[in-house]
Symmetry: C2
Subunit: 409 residues, 2 copies
Amino acid sequence: MFPPLALLVGSGADQLALQMLLVFGAAKLLAELATRAGMPGIVGGLLSGILLGPSLLNLIRYNDLLHALSELGVMFLLFQVGLEVKVSELLRVGKTALLVAISGVAVPFAMGYAIYIGAKHPQPEALFMGAAMVATSVGITAQVLSSKGLLEHRTAKIILGAAIIDDVLGLLVLAVVSSMGEGRGIDYTGLLTTTVVSVVFVAAIVKYGTGAVRIVVPRLARGMRLHESEYAIAVTFLFGMALLASVSGVAAIIGAFLAGMALAEIASKRLHTLVQGAGELMIPFFLASIGLQLDLHALASGSSLAMAIAILIAALNSKALGCGLAAWRLGWKDAARIGIGMAPRGEIGMVIAQIGMSRGAIGQEAYGVAVFMAVMTTVVAPPLLDLAYKDIAQPPRGLPPDEEPVQLG
Amino acid sequence: MFPPLALLVGSGADQLALQMLLVFGAAKLLAELATRAGMPGIVGGLLSGILLGPSLLNLIRYNDLLHALSELGVMFLLFQVGLEVKVSELLRVGKTALLVAISGVAVPFAMGYAIYIGAKHPQPEALFMGAAMVATSVGITAQVLSSKGLLEHRTAKIILGAAIIDDVLGLLVLAVVSSMGEGRGIDYTGLLTTTVVSVVFVAAIVKYGTGAVRIVVPRLARGMRLHESEYAIAVTFLFGMALLASVSGVAAIIGAFLAGMALAEIASKRLHTLVQGAGELMIPFFLASIGLQLDLHALASGSSLAMAIAILIAALNSKALGCGLAAWRLGWKDAARIGIGMAPRGEIGMVIAQIGMSRGAIGQEAYGVAVFMAVMTTVVAPPLLDLAYKDIAQPPRGLPPDEEPVQLG
């Protein structure tokens, strides 16, 4: 029989369609099932990766394309969240966010380091495990709060602000850990430069972004003859800021969030919907990619499974403790909400574990433990958040009647 | 100095952001300039690829990621167009479309073959050049007509219908050419199987798709608790149909178009906008990818440039002649519109040239000529279409006041 064109062509159009169908379809199907089981839909998206990946069905291998779609997905997720957040409101909680971030970095790092040193692992491994536990993957929490219409809540603002500061702190921890792990002295000049560049970048965008955007974007959009010019400008701005953030040493998604926030006050309803159209397509790839990177077989031995569970429990408790204590004066309920909201380590924790492995600082087993911790903190956070915010499940704030609240996932 | 996190990470978040920014930004900027120069915006998107690619600035190399985004872009483009087209209207022009497709395959093939044989090139090369000239990249024309609100025009229906049939015919031509080029006999059983499978697939979707979708989709969407369930279903359906089409031997984009068309009668306004949000993001990558594959340096010698221009002129005239004559009874104006609308060879022509090269049937020079022909037929078509439809630039048909017509690109 004659082979079908697509195979003959080798262009991979069929493979592309197959991957898109499997990941998108499974993520949405499991999201629906999760919703019916009374859980946030996002849990289904996360589980779909575990289901399709090496841990269970082994249908799909995490690859460059899925990685790129996942990165785009989380960029759009944070961009969408940014569009819902006003800079002034974020600044108002600045001091609490700073405290939460610092304490939420110190406690998990110390706990991870202590457990690994206590179990007689080599110091570089303990350092990297601590660093992996520092990371916060804010996308998951932002998504849950956004879908509940709770981005206006002060705890949401604190979590978002703390996550940005956390990213800068995580960068420094990683730098220090890398130097120490390789037995080099700490490069204080380099550290200072990194800190200054990343802080100046974030501060400049937070301080001047909205103002500059308010002056430039509407004029530009009006002056352009291209159809959907506002969307074209917004997406260009999004990628530009993601790039600038990367170059300044901050995560690309922080750039995406800052871009969204700078646009928040002038974004039209149509822009929201168009951005949502792109986000709804790609966010499932972000969610699935987290689970796709988990291979439970790596934890087959009893001792590594026990260690993975110990690290998971430490990861959850250390963030809850670190962040919760720093936010204690808001009352125990809000403190708990913040502690849970900062728990997911997601893709950030995995990236740090990958760096550790690529430098030979951590072995295959510790890598497996770190990935397990990153994935499971991410999977358990949404249902816990659901519970923590149950008593303030407020209806979305007053939107025009035909505007729907941003619902990610 | 300490390297920035993204470089340290090697996750390529910065490279991803850079590529997205360059391609998307350049495509939109040139689209704006094209619009101001009185040309369709799509021309700017196409030129951006030539500008960024090896022909001029050499800033970006066409790679797997851009290829995947480009495939997704053209899938969404055809899906969007499908959403605007009713099956019944397409069937009404079926016979004319069939004539246009057959004649539009025969004349270009004969001309390409004759020129190459006349210039004393080997027969396999002449066969593949003919096959590359047969292809129709319908996305470009569909995009121009959609942006002018002219998808309702009978010529638009004929072009879309003919492009689908053209895809099946092109598949057969490629099969025959491949056998002959390799000196094998023609596998008539294989040919028949391919024909039957692809025709049955298309016919089944055209005949039963809308009906099935009308029964299943609204119930499914109502029954689901997931937010934006209609979009989730539509996108899953899109990828499923693209995959089925690929497997049946038809291009994935034909599947995407059929999926859109099956949904056309029940798609909500919100679904249109969400799909547009995804499409607006990815279509620029499709447009740019065409130009990115062109390397004018391949035509540096005088004789290959002369051949490229000869083939380009033949490609334009042969489609105009073949399709125009078949549609002559509609009057010379509509015949000319159809002849121009079928001209772009785009990505389809390039894929066939790639197959020819990978099989050793055509050399580097003939490949360069075919790519030049594919790109230039695609670049010149939109301005010519603009002219051809100037006197019927009708306003978009009666839409609800706040609904904007689908404007691609």
